[in-house]
Amino acid sequence: MNIHATPQRTPAETAFVDAFGDRLTQLPGDPAVMIKRDSAIEQVKAGLPTRRIESWHYTDLRRLLTSVADFDAAVSTTALAPLIEGSKVLTLANGVSADDKVALDGVSVVRLAEKLVDGSFAPALDLYGADDAIGAVNSAFVADGYFVDIADGVELEHPLEMQNLQGGAQSHVRLPVRAGKGVKATIVERQTGTGAATVSCVSQLLIGDDAEITWVIVQEQPDSATHLAQFKAEIGANAKLRLFFMNAGGKLVRQEVIVKAAGEGAEFTMRGVNLLSGDAHTDVTMVLDHAVPNTSSTELVRNIVTGRAKGVFQGRINVHQYAQKTDAKMACNTLLLSDDAEFSTKPELEIFADDVQCGHGATVTEIDRTHLFYLMARGIEEKAARGLLVKAFLAEVIEEMEDEPLVEALEAKLNDWFETHV
């Protein structure tokens, strides 16, 4: 009870601090970047967040992160076929960028390792707050990634896919993307690999006025991996961001989504699916700021939890004082499929403007027995009937993406997961 003792460093904390000392000379960065790295590692030294830190209440990182994979330049990875056929693929293998040329008009791609030394990148390494543990670990160690700049008015015909592959070691990457005015693009972020990897990835998206961006995150880490990810976006005036994420792997996963509706008329849509099995602990934490008037957002997250898995969804919508006419809706629905499954949710609203429409809903339950009965009465076996109901529960979210190749690809992923896990 409120008694604070000076904590001893955990093995994971020690591993991070020691690794920083060892790797300091190899980490790319201009002086400003190196200062950011120093202050970031100080935050790690102060200790990883515990459940006493409100934003980590359900994911006690200090306790859950029992070990950290070593850095190992030798591990190999295998590139994946793109999620959607025809996509331009940028690969990061073991934290190192493999491509730096992409033949697309109006799109410039620079290796982040180069960007980190050109004197301009340091401000992007700022932490989100005192509880930004993912930002701190990533800022301290980030060595590569891709810096993508899409020029004003460019409309991409095919998606741009960035694959972050890790073969069981440790890596920290960043994917900053700047989409100019009126850009239309779909960007796919793949997170996968083999072995007990430790990965952190920070995606930073800046959306210009009137642009329309669809960002898809597919996380399929192996069952023993630790995946710490952050997606940050700022949406310009009359611009639209559609974010879709699917978490279908990993042992300890935290996906943070930090979005700011910064221009009037900005629209944010988030759809997410969490498929949790085995001993997975998966946490999706969203902070959404409505900072100006006339912005809107809807978020829908659906979860299924089996085995001994634990799921978490925290969503906070901040409506600032002058953000009148904000329209924000958030829902989180969960199906618990096994006796040992757990799910905790905390949908928060912080509202300082009076002329707004905000709402949230959250449910946690098991499969509706009357629905099951309905199907079984028609001769469908119980197992098949359950499968149908669960798939329908999730497919509803995916189908809302309204992009046929994308919906098909995601549904295929969903089916794959069902075959191996249920």
Binding site: M1, I3, E342, G361, A362, V364, E366
Partner: protein
């Protein structure tokens, strides 16, 4: 949608500068030396003539308290409290346990008269009776349940408890907690601290060390308490903190309805009120606990007011037991209060109904906890928050189902309304399901009245404004109805508040 004019008017009426109970009475007081130490704890215990085990219990809590830090997770902001600058005991001098009302200081009786609290048994009916124009069809049967037994707590002591004899005839014990410690030590020893242990939290621990009075209710097996029980808390003396402790026990199949009201004088400095309420319901028992909290909220500039840091918890210990909390919160500079239910018994039920209105610079951080431990337990949370002026109004609630709580069921609904652009409304619900058969639903709706409903009423020839009022009335009644009729009158003032345009 912004709030309608009518709503703004209604809220203005209960604004901080309209506080009616801010008068101060000058009554000779007997006080403990200022500050908190083991000696203060011993002083209070000695003043109360407590047995040694009680003193030991208090001292243990005090020592524990010294190791704790003030909680800071709530969304409230206030300067650090100097616990050494408070009087922990202040009692009217003339009351070494008056045996009848005639012995009570007439000045004190005047205070209660002014507040409209019925202490003289023969005046009970007249006392609660409101002028006819204030009643309407909703409360025309206000007096059906007849009389209310009152325990009046003035600063640190209970000055009088009414209807004791009649209650005793039914087997019900209703007295001050100090008296209970002396007269019924076995019962107190068995139950005190069993719901809110001395180690529970900073303010509960402080309360355990220095609580001075409060009410004790014991309803034996199978008894339905023949009348409403009520405690009226008044802080009068300057620089004093009020630390009351209430313990209510309902044995198998018993029922009691208990109400609580509170007011304090208008002062520039802040005063601390840290109470603990413990409810125990055994098999098939039901406890209904209602609060109309009207402590002094501070002035229009946010100066003064009561810090209301309260720990209230009910334990549905028996199977099929039920605990229901209803609260109407309009006062206090800061409210930090989470009446909770531990649903331990199988098939037990917990309810929480709340209307929290904040104005001026008030800060409210209130809500509930429903901890489902037993099988087939059910809980229901209805919360309506209204923020105006520069106030901050937060709903913070937790619903959790333990692994063994099969078929746990919860429904939560919280709405809030903002009036003006300088205030804030916040919703922080925590839901934790550790059981696949649990069924939890949480909704925070934008309670704009549906066009369908409005159309239905209007096409019967009722004008729009009236149609809205009608629908809103029905909507808020969900909470108001849960109040005992005697309190419904007070709460009625809030009933007309339109919740149109509210946010979740």
């Amino acid at each position: 949608m912004p709030a309608v004019q009518e709503t703004i008017e209604q809220v203005r009426k209960i604004d901080v500068d309209q506080y009616k109970y801010g008068f101060e009475s000058f009554i000779e007081m007997d006080k403990a030396p200022k500050g908190l130490s083991e000696d203060t704890v011993r002083f209070i215990s000695a003043k109360k003539g407590e047995p040694a085990w009680m003193l030991e219990w208090r001292l243990e809590a005090y020592r524990r308290w010294l190791t704790l830090e003030e909680p800071n997770w709530a969304r409230v902001d206030y300067p650090k409290i100097d616990f050494q600058d408070i009087y922990y005991y202040a009692a009217p001098k003339s009351t070494p346990g008056p045996t009848s009302l005639d012995e009570v200081d007439p000045e004190i009786l005047k205070v209660y008269e002014k507040l409209g609290i019925p202490l003289k048994e023969q005046e009970i009916l007249a006392g609660v009776q409101k002028p006819v124009e204030e009643t309407d069809e909703a409360n025309d049967n206000v007096y059906k349940s007849g009389r209310v037994a009152v325990d009046a707590v003035f600063d640190s002591v209970s000055v009088v408890t009414t209807f004791k004899k009649e209650l005793a005839a039914a087997g019900v014990i209703f007295c001050s907690i100090s008296e209970a410690i002396r007269e019924h030590p076995d019962l107190v020893k068995k139950y005190i601290g069993s719901v809110v242990p001395t180690t529970d939290n900073y303010y509960a621990t402080l309360n355990s060390a220095v609580f001075t009075d409060g009410s004790f209710v014991f309803v034996p097996k199978g008894v339905r308490c023949p009348m409403e029980l009520s405690t009226y808390f008044r802080i009068n003396e300057k620089n004093t903190g009020q630390f009351e402790r209430t313990l209510i026990i309902c044995e198998e199949g018993a029922y009691v309805s208990y109400l609580e009201g509170c007011t304090a004088p208008q002062r520039d400095e802040n005063q601390l009120h840290a109470a603990v309420v413990e409810l125990v319901a055994l098999d098939d028992a039901e406890i209904k606990y209602s609060t109309v909290q009207n402590w002094y909220p501070g002035d229009a500039q946010g100066k003064g007011g009561i810090y209301n840091f309260v720990t209230k918890r009910g334990d549905c210990r028996g199977d099929r037991s039920k605990i229901s909390w209803t609260q109407v919160e309009t006062g206090s500079a800061i409210t930090w209060k989470y009446p909770s239910c531990i649903l331990r018994g199988d098939d037990s039920q917990g309810e929480f109904y709340s209307i929290a209105v904040s104005n001026g610079y008030q800060q409210v951080d209130s809500g509930t906890k429903m901890i489902h431990l037993g099988k087939n337990t059910r809980s229901r949370i209805i919360s309506k928050g209204i923020a105006a002026g520069f106030s901050q109004n937060t709903y913070r609630g937790q619903v959790s189902a333990h692994r063994k709580a099969t078929n746990a069921r919860n429904f939560t609904n919280c709405d809030s309304l903002l009036i003006g652009d300088q205030c804030g409304a916040h919703t922080v619900p925590y839901m934790e399901a550790k059981n696949a058969t649990a069924q939890f639903e949480h909704e925070a709706t934008t309670s704009k009245i549906s066009d369908d409903q409005k159309f239905y009423v209007m096409q019967r020839g009722i004008p729009e404004e009236e149609a809205i009022a009608l629908i809103v009335n029905g909507f808020v009644k969900e909470v108001i109805q849960e109040l005992p009729m005697e309190f419904a009158v007070e709460a009625q003032k809030l009933i007309g508040i339109s919740l149109e345009g509210s946010v979740g």
